[in-house]
Symmetry: C2
Subunit: 252 residues, 2 copies
DNA sequence: CGCCCGCTTGAGATAAATCAAACACGGTGG
DNA sequence: CCACCGTGTTTGATTTATCTCAAGCGGGCG
């Protein structure tokens, strides 16, 4: 419309995945899922009250948008493999990324008209549940209800903590916080090995999540590398000094 | 502990309201509540499916902290009158305010250990519901379930939109957004008259919500006053040019 | 080979912070 | 009644973190 929308148009291919990928060769991949025990799926599929499991439908997606913005969906998604992120664009093409999602994360839309959509960062595999079934399960089974509420509160808290960082933290602190929180979540899912893990974010994603420019992200990350705090090299994050990283985030 | 905690200690009186105020002279104030029809209370108390209403207990509070941070509560609160805000302090005494609450807003805690608490901005009256009863109601009654989920999604979306503003907006835009969103919420509850309403925030609250200094908030607000966008005078907000205010927030 | 993308580095510009002073106002005590 | 104080706000001068503009570099890929 106006403003420099250059950065906007070509970047998001609004390819909603109406084209279905062939169902996974594995008819019930959840049986071997690495993160089932440490994610919400535990409550949905297995666990101590092994009632009938919800209808599942697995799909894969390349690096495209998964949802159109502001659409209500009949399904609730759980990421099985790969990374995705939520984002929103302003009129002038700038992008904000509130959070990143990976294996075990539940995807549930924001309000309509808020403009948030979801994009695959890597190729991903995800599992679809029928929303109505989940709703019924939540109402029938206290354990599911509790897990659902706990997950929703945790998600909301994460957002508030993120907002607090954006309001008060310096560039270095914001980036440190983003890295640390991803590290902790990856660790909780058993995806961290020897303080190192796959990390597909480009500097532009870090910039859009922290409200900084890529130029400044570059400078700040190399400062962290030089200071021996962490390194991000070719899709891999390695924490060199976890204690120091925590100290930076906790402002001590 | 360290750092200049001067601003921290004396400001928050961590007076949890264990001292109960005498019950309101009005035995069932909800009957005459101004915001009942336009808030979540509609679902809790009245409405088309007039099942038994939840146990209510009304209290009032002066300008103190209502909740200790990180405590789980047996109750869910709804504000009946007056203003409150959530906040969190960092080690060095700086305060972040994610949102403001007024008549009709539901108060439900963040995760433990996230450090958020709630403080009354004015004298307030609030209504307490037993959490277990609400939980039962949510499970029994589809209407309550839907309203609850919708409210939770809306709250989460608000936080994401706030975070986006902190990440990408200028000082003027952030303040304009805060004012506009409060205006719209007040309007939805019928608390706005002739584009004017009570507005008990001090500049320091606006500063702590937008991540700016009070000095800069002062400058920015007087610029808005001079530009004929809005004024904040002695506890009263008046929108002078709503269209212009919206344009600023929508970056057009 | 050459091009594009992501990253790095440098130099100058700018929005907001910081430091500092003063003012307006209501309350309080002499 | 006035002097004084504290809180909240305003305004000015200077500093700083981050942005903007610009150029260069390396690697993957058509």
């Amino acid at each position: 419309m106006h403003g420099n929308a250059t950065r906007c148009e070509e970047d998001d291919k609004l390819v909603t995945l109406t084209h279905k990928f062939p169902p996974s060769e594995n008819p019930s991949p959840c049986k071997t899922c690495r993160v089932r025990a440490t994610s919400f799926c535990d409550v949905l599929i297995g666990g101590p009250a092994p009632s009938r499991s919800l209808t599942q439908h697995h799909e894969t997606a390349a690096r495209h948008d998964l949802f159109e913005p502001d659409k209500t969906h009949e399904s609730v998604y759980v990421i099985c493999d790969g990374w995705a992120f939520r984002f929103r664009r302003t009129e002038d093409g700038r992008r904000y990324i509130p959070n990143f999602l990976f294996a075990g994360d539940v995807v549930y839309g924001f309000s309509k008209n808020a403009g948030f959509s979801l994009q695959a960062l890597t190729d991903i595999r995800y599992c679809k549940f029928v929303r109505a079934e989940l709703k019924a399960r939540i109402r029938e089974e206290p354990r599911t209800y509790d897990a659902w509420i706990a997950a929703r509160i945790a998600e909301r808290t994460e957002l508030a903590v993120t907002a607090a960082a954006l309001a008060q933290f310096s560039a270095a602190e914001r980036i440190a916080q983003l890295v640390l929180r991803l590290r902790d979540r990856l660790d909780a899912r058993g995806m961290l090995h020897n303080e190192s893990c796959a990390f597909p974010l480009r500097q532009v994603h870090i910039a859009d999540a922290t409200g900084l420019t890529t130029v400044h992200v570059s400078r700040t990350i190399s400062a962290f590398r030089k200071a021996g705090v962490f390194t991000i090299d070719d899709g891999k994050l390695t924490i060199l000094n976890l204690a120091k990283l925590r100290r930076i985030v906790e402002r001590e």
